[in-house]
Amino acid sequence: MQDLTKIAPTDTTTPQDAASILDVSNLRTYFYTDEGVVRAVDGINYSVAPGETLGIVGESGSGKTVAALSLMRLIEDPARIVSGEIKFDGRDIVTMSLEELRKVRGAGIAMVFQDPMTSLNPVLKIARQLVETMVVHGRLTEEQALDRAIKLLGRMGITAPERAVDSYPHQFSGGMRQRVMLAMGFSNEPQLLIADEPTTALDVTIQAQILELIVELNRDFKTAIVLISHNLGVIASVCSRVVVMYAGEVVEEGPTDKILADPRHPYTWALINAVPRIDRHVPGQRRLVTIEGAPPDPLNLPAGCRFAARCPFRIEKCEQHPELLEISPGRKSRCWVTQAGQDLPPPETSRDAPAEAKARTGGHHGETVIKRGERLLELRNVVKHFPLPKTTLFGKQKWVHAINGVSLDVAQGETVGLVGESGCGKSTLARVVARIHEPTSGSVMFHGQDIARASQAQIRPLRRRMQMVFQDPYASLNPRMTVGDILGEPLRFHEITQSEKETRERIAELLDVVGLTPKAATRYPHEFSGGQRQRISIARALSVRPDFIIADEPISALDVNIQAQIINLLIDLQERFGLTYLFIAHDLAVVRHISDRVVVLYLGSVMEIAPADTLFAEPLHPYTRYLISAVPIPDATIEAARQRLPLQGEPPSTVDPPSGCPFRTRCPIAQAICAQVMPPVAEVRPSHFVACHFPGQF
């Protein structure tokens, strides 16, 4: 209940107030760092009704995780809650004693964290970790708790729960561990479960399973859920209401369907439009809508609207700080532009370059004229097996079957997308193509030359034509080298530039091409943001004027808006220099958006190859269908109506893969033949290849 004598901001009263179990008002959590005070959470208000599902969305640094940790006072030095109230069940969490707080933690409010791999104690058995959660609150004895733990694990969809409780966390996959975490969360039947990015570390099919489970648990246990995510699709598939955070503030709040269909804050608008959609693709529309710049420096927040600097709808009044005000019943926004009741126009799409531009060739500093369609890369039966480290001195050598006979052609100027879940071999394949790994067998023809067995000296001249962009822009740039040195090294090594002056000119040119200032050359990688570093990685790849770029998850470490900027950059560069891309990603929507053709990998084998639009419209392999169905769509209406195909279980081990078709162990239409014969990759329809005995029958 709200204290009526308290001077509350005008905007805290919501329709839920009367019956809410959680009321956050004016919460501020600051980090007292050596550089100054970081206002990570800067006066947020929201409430959660019993049994409600609330989503909190925002990019990294928006304060959504700190806000969630503050709810249970789990923040650590140098962070402190400096003001505000967190009323849970009528009591203020901010001011209650540690003893009282401990009774709330795990019993009234439970939390599930992002990374299931590190959230369980590695040296304690699952049983111990589940039992202590229940016993500490004194409701059950050890025996009762163990009994309940087994039942809960069964409820969470873990097979043989009696055995599972006796295991250690490392014996489980990430998805299984997140089920254990959920079992732990629900073990005391809390009134509120906070889930902080619970599926971000998981594969899309596992994500679908976990989200499904959360929805079911919410329904069965009547537990209110606060789901924190950067992914609007995840929010749309679970939450009825959503709170959008930006730079430590709530900028928009309302029902999920209304906000996704008609955002009333420019930041929400940008967030929604920056993400490519898996369920629709407009031919010829390749550029994504992006907003300029990056979130404000948290040490030095602007006095006016915090989004103003990046806002395409900015008006003069935005120099004053807007309040979070009701714009229509149940909807609030912190924006001068929409407070009068206007909506935000859909994004312009006419900025796109004409479709023919993509076919335009040559350019590339007049070096080579590239004919589109010529075969650039040819993989034939590529196999790569890795030896596992032996566990005992005289044990049998075991092998990881990372890639098992992949054949694939890449034509000049096209973008081939490579998708699959973790462990499917997509990164290994990229490394085999780049000859970081030598394949166990098979051939890799690049520009007509077999590089599968070539020595490093023989490959070296080809390295100029083939470059790689890596996933982690923090780890792939040497922190001790300036950006100029990073870009200059390949130029000098391959003797592309003849003099220092020429090198410097070329570095400046490269930085310009990727949208950075020439001044960047004298700075070190740590001075740049993740998105800027990825631009540097791309510039490094471009420095030797390659015609083929292997991009291994180049955007998965980035926020959606930065993702969109990098995707646009890659598309522009392709049009400008006639580049060919092998684009690896686990985000199917992004792959659909950027690729001409898409290859689906499962357990080191090709399942399906088809032009992107064909593949997503008419997938013929059961695995592809499951994969597409698992992707949540950021549209609450579609999500509510959609019948999701539930792919059960987890991929089998790559150390001991199944006989015949690798997918048969999870395939609903598998027959006896599937266990005996690996189906060949056959052209079922023109340029649509499928490795299935029964294509299209599922």
Binding site: R102, M111, F113, S119, L120, N121, P122, E132, T133
Partner: protein
């Protein structure tokens, strides 16, 4: 688990064999003639005498033959005769080892019993006075040279204050307890002789503190660093979110993880104390392996040197094996 232990044991045996080879080769290629070092000037000037001496100790056989003689005798528990003491090396080692084991074990227990809790408290109460005390203690322990610390201790507590006994294992006029294990503390308990027990314990205080100082510093710092690292793991936050008390979080969630690196370090430190106490034993006139090592090296007593080196190597191998096994007990991820 049994498979794991057998596999580790097999590895240890291979290592032990390799160690015998290396020990033998090094001892036999060191410049210096043991015959000349052992015989007096007069005897050494007599070629027949020299020849007879060499023949007796098989010094004139080829290297490989001598290695196989060495291995064969080793298999029978025969480490050869010490040239200096004219007694079997094994007997010498049996004679000197208990004193060292007693001193090293007391020293190690001292550093572990103080170091681990100090490190844990220093980490949990970071920047409190306990943390500062721990930092001071480990700095002193790690940075004081052994000989300096030993003399200072003797000068203050024995010389000045006269509250600690002087060098040696017992008072010069006292008798050793009946020999069972060779460890005076245990033997005196067996004999029910509490006066000797007190005397032996009192004599252990100064040398074990000197010996423990460096190890204590190391253990304290490692424990502190390890606990600090574990405190910020996700599972600790999960434990807190469950509503566990801070005590339970430290004891059940942090410690079992944090102690894993401490066990490695502690084990190696113990092996080091068992084999490297030359300085402390010499200053405290402690009749242990350290002093035997020093004497044998000075006399170029090859059989004794090889015997000691072998003991050192085997000590390390056994302790490493114990570390590996305790690792597997502490961390279920070790055995896949």
């Amino acid at each position: 688990m049994p498979r794991y232990i057998v596999s580790r044991l097999g590895l240890a045996v291979v290592m032990a064999l390799l160690a015998t080879l290396v020990i033998f080769l090094i001892a036999n290629t060191v410049p210096g003639d043991p015959a000349l070092a052992q015989l007096g000037d007069l005897a050494a000037s007599n070629p027949d005498f020299l020849k007879a001496f060499r023949a007796k100790w098989a010094l004139d056989e080829p290297l490989w033959t001598r290695y196989f003689i060495f291995l064969k005798e080793l298999a029978h528990g025969d480490l050869g005769m010490s040239i200096a003491s004219q007694r079997p090396v094994l007997d010498d080692i049996k004679n000197y080892a208990p004193a060292t084991i007693e001193l090293a074990t007391v020293g190690f227990l001292l550093s572990a019993v103080i170091g681990v809790p100090l490190g844990v408290i220093a980490a949990v109460r970071r920047d409190s006075w306990v943390d500062h005390v721990a930092r001071f203690v480990s700095l002193i322990g790690v940075s004081s040279p052994t000989f300096w610390l030993a003399f200072i201790m003797l000068a203050i507590f024995y010389g000045e204050l006269q509250i600690a006994p002087g060098p040696g294992r017992l008072d010069p006029i006292a008798f050793a307890p009946p020999n069972v294990t060779g460890l005076f503390l245990i033997d005196s308990i067996f004999a029910g002789d509490w006066n000797t027990f007190r005397d032996a314990l009192a004599h252990l205080v100064l040398p074990s503190i000197v010996l423990a100082a460096a190890t204590l510093g190391l253990i304290t710092r490692t424990t502190r660093a390890s606990v600090l690292e574990c405190m910020h793991q996700d599972y600790v936050r999960v434990a807190r979110a469950k509503g566990l008390s801070e005590r339970k979080i430290v004891m059940r969630h942090i410690l079992p993880n944090a102690l894993i690196p401490v066990v490695t370090l502690g084990g190696l430190a113990y092996a080091n104390l068992l084999t490297g106490a030359v300085m402390t034993e010499t200053i405290f006139s402690w009749p242990g392996l350290g002093r035997y090592t020093f004497r044998s090296a000075a006399a170029l007593d090859f059989p004794a040197i090889m015997g000691i080196t072998l003991v050192v190597a085997v000590t390390y191998l056994i302790i490493n094996l114990l570390i590996d096994i305790s690792y597997a007990l502490l961390d279920p991820r070790v055995i896949r």
